[in-house]
Subunit: 110 residues, 3 copies
């Protein structure tokens, strides 16, 4: 079955395509996320310094638990090359119970 508002956050992050694996691995090794799905090539367009710019990026979808969210945000500047990285957390309304249990177990520090 699934919870009402489960203890999980879905994290959306963009980064240079050739750094996605390295960033995700660093976050996994620190138990800050339980898993990540790298969408290897997205076409990004965005406002920057008064112009619409465009870049190839990777979009990474990760999951973590609420107790690891602060530590995740604190670690981003150490592992991500951007000064203004997109790291957005979404709180699900439901999630499979086995998945939640697994996520709690694998994101426990130490």
């Amino acid at each position: 079955m699934h919870g009402g508002s489960p203890d999980i956050h879905v994290i959306l992050m963009t980064c240079p395509p050739d750094q996605a694996e390295k960033i995700l691995l660093a976050l996994l090794e620190r138990r800050l996320v339980g898993c990540g799905n790298i969408i290897p090539l997205v076409r990004s367009r965005y406002w920057w310094e008064g112009q619409i710019c465009s870049d190839d990026e990777a979009l990474v979808v990760m999951e973590t638990t609420p107790d690891r969210l602060d530590a995740l945000y604190a670690a981003i500047p150490e592992v991500h090359p951007y000064t203004v990285p997109k790291v957005v957390a979404l709180q699900p309304s439901a999630c499979g119970e086995p998945y939640l249990q697994w996520l709690r177990a694998v994101t426990r520090p130490g």
Copy 2:
């Protein structure tokens, strides 16, 4: 226009790339989702049995209504090969009204 907290859930699911169509079709045929977008190839890294593993997966983004959510979660073990599948539901803050009406109509059982 669009509602405050509309009657819709966005579902994120990962699965083996070669089973995404079959799983999505099974859920559509049972009217458990109204549509699905298959991102055919994502690179997944995750903790499993004490190690960081990696796999190619598909990421499927689907939509359903609140009254079909329980039935959707109940059906997952019948159509998904994993013992611990990622099936996460996100509740939007807004959605186009025509889309909502369409989704209600196509997810009505029977």
Copy 3:
């Protein structure tokens, strides 16, 4: 650090692959979104007029602020070819503060 429920919406939109750039550019130029990531090719399956149809689409992940959401939804029919487009807004539970400040600045009208 990051806010509790920050002033940002993540927008999920699907559209024909060859129109994703044009639609995203139109929304950026009107300052209705701050950025967008185009996932160029997804396989969509959906109910339409009593049948399960399938199409190649693009999935675009965009961000905007709450004060621009109504204007965004009002503009969709002018820039999107579908009669029933998927334009779903998700409200994050957290987001990097520098990103939030940037988003507010670049989505200010005029």
